[in-house]
């Protein structure tokens, strides 16, 4: 059952990821990205990380992607027209991609032979309580540094936007 769901949602995630690139319309691409985020959240759920799964949906599939779609709708971006590609790129593209993936897979298999597969139900400690304790004890400094980084990004965005307004 676990493996069935894993392969189902892994397949959806990959299919949506391909669709992000292939779709012509920016809204369709953005929605495919929502599909990727949501199916990754299901994979988190299978690993026992309930809090992370819900945070993934709230933050990425919800807040971030809604802003993407909001901006696309606001700019009223239309469907892209496909630029003509060179004959060589059309011919060589797919085989080269397969070759790249194969060599990457080979390198990973060689580099980490004892990696094994992910075991479901063996990974514990994904509840909100565990994550809260971890964040505010062991990882307090990285957590605070990250929040300062985000604050800097927000201030930067405001400064840039103000310059535009004047």
């Amino acid at each position: 059952m676990d493996f069935l769901f894993f392969f189902l949602f892994a397949f959806i995630a990959v299919a949506c990821a391909v669709s992000v690139v292939v779709q012509k319309h920016p809204i369709a691409s953005a929605l495919s990205l929502v599909g990727v985020m949501a199916s990754i959240a299901v994979l988190y759920l299978q690993l026992g990380a309930e809090f992370l799964a819900m945070a993934q949906i709230i933050v990425y599939a919800g807040a971030v992607m809604v802003l993407f779609i909001f901006v696309i709708m606001l700019l009223n971006a239309g469907a892209e027209s496909r630029a003509g590609r060179s004959y060589a790129a059309q011919l060589m593209g797919p085989p080269l991609l397969v070759a790249l993936m194969a060599s990457l897979g080979f390198a990973i298999m060689r580099g980490f032979p004892g990696g094994g597969t992910v075991k479901f139900d063996s990974f514990q400690g994904g509840t909100a309580q565990n994550i809260g304790y971890a964040l505010f004890t062991d990882y307090l400094l990285p957590f605070e540094v990250t929040s300062v980084l985000i604050l800097v990004a927000i201030l930067g965005a405001i400064v840039l936007a103000r310059k535009e307004m004047d």
């Binding site: 809090f51 949906i57 809604v66 802003l67 709708m73 606001l74």
Partner: protein, 396 residues
């Protein structure tokens, strides 16, 4: 196997009750607003217009679905499905009563008790924005697009104070499971003040309850925050171009969202199914007494009819109310039905407040809406969360 059968039965019951309730909330809303405005409201189809929702359903199903030209076909059709799906799915984690045993099987009055139930509801409601935003964009209409944009901006803005207001009672409850949150509010202070989140704890959550309710109005696009469908500026906003069942889907999504936010407010702030006063002071008798009182009023007006047909309809209602009162007072059913009664009573009260405010308040202006969210509601929710967190840390 037993689990699957019980779940399927619960699923069927909950889906049937919810969908019927959604149709009848609309009847209640029309009736209440009509009486506030000194009108009669629906009164033609069935006694007191009670069959009006049924007639509306038949009307909406048999109407022709019109597709506007140059609309994006896929997203135009997907948007209402997405909206109604995201709205209905959150009912699956909402508990509405205690556990009981029937024929040797333990049954929870809830589809599933997630240990991240609150986050699940937030996640699903944040996905619900897509339905409205896409509907506005895909209809290829400038009014719809404006409505969709407004609604996504409004829902993102009000999600922040709503989530912050939700976080404060969670600090006191110490769990994210909705059933666990309700269980943490059992009992009474001083013997008669219920330990609901708005009355108790190191810091009574009355402010976060008010902030949550205000944000909930905005999240469900209700008056005074119904900017996305402001009729006199945008015709009908994001669903201008929708007709037939796809229009009904948006309607159902709106009412279902209302039920969800009211249930969450009931569970987190108003103690779920815990009664207002202790059982030792006779809270178990409240339900049969209220229902019998309603029956008596119906019977009285049936015997002194204001309109000729009241002579037949009102006594029938009286019999139904007396029957329900008898069911509530039937000893073996008391532990099952009394919690359900209290939960539904609180839920209906909050839903009534939604309707009441719709009949009372005018609409915000768009800049007022945004500055209210960011300059008042958000800092207030943040302050409330800080004070609550500080006091919880101090006490524990």
């Amino acid at each position: 196997m037993e689990f699957i059968i019980i779940t399927l039965i619960k699923l069927a019951v909950i889906a049937f009750v919810l969908l019927t309730a959604l149709a009848y909330i609309q009847w209640v809303e029309r009736k209440v607003i009509a009486h506030v405005q000194v009108r009669m409201g629906p009164s033609r189809v069935g006694p007191h217009g009670l069959l009006q929702p049924l007639a509306d359903v038949v009307k909406l199903i048999t109407k022709e679905g019109v597709m506007p030209p140059h609309a994006n076909k896929f997203f135009y059709l997907a948007a209402p499905i997405l909206a109604v799906f995201m709205a209905l799915i959150s009912i699956s984690v909402i508990p509405f009563g205690t556990e009981f045993t029937v024929l040797g099987h333990r049954v929870m009055m809830q589809l599933t008790d997630l240990n991240v139930g609150v986050l699940f509801i937030l996640a699903v409601s944040s996905m619900g924005v897509y339905g409205i935003a896409l509907a506005g964009w895909a209809s290829n209409n400038k009014y719809s697009l404006l409505g969709g944009l407004r609604s996504s901006a409004q829902m993102i803005s009000y999600e922040l104070p709503m989530s912050l207001a939700l976080a404060a009672p969670l600090l006191i409850a110490g769990t994210l499971s909705l059933r666990g949150i309700v269980d943490s509010q059992a009992g009474y202070n001083l013997g008669f003040i219920p330990k609901w989140a708005i009355f108790t704890g190191p810091f009574p959550q009355i402010f976060s309850f008010i902030i949550f309710m205000i944000a909930a109005f905005a999240e469900t696009n209700r008056i005074p925050f119904d900017l996305p469908e402001a009729e006199n500026e945008l015709v009908a906003g994001f669903h201008v171009e929708y007709s037939s069942m796809s229009f009904a889907a948006f309607f159902m999504a709106e009412y279902s969202n209302m039920v969800t936010v009211c249930s969450v407010a009931t569970l987190l702030f108003l103690g779920g199914w815990h009664p207002l006063w202790p059982e030792s002071m006779g809270s178990n008798f409240a339900a049969p007494l209220i229902l019998a009182g309603a029956g008596a009023i119906c019977l009285y007006h049936g015997l002194n009819p204001a309109r000729p047909f009241d002579r037949f309809t009102l006594p029938a209602f009286a019999v139904i109310f007396f029957g329900l009162a008898g069911l509530m007072a039937f000893p073996p059913l008391v532990p099952v039905l009394t919690p359900l009664f209290w939960f539904l009573a609180k839920l209906s009260f909050l839903l009534f407040v939604f309707i009441w405010i719709r009949a009372t308040l005018p609409r915000f202006r768009y800049d007022q809406l945004m500055s209210f969210a960011w300059k008042f509601l958000f800092p207030a929710a943040l302050l409330n969360l800080l004070v609550t967190g500080f006091l919880v840390a101090l006490v524990s």
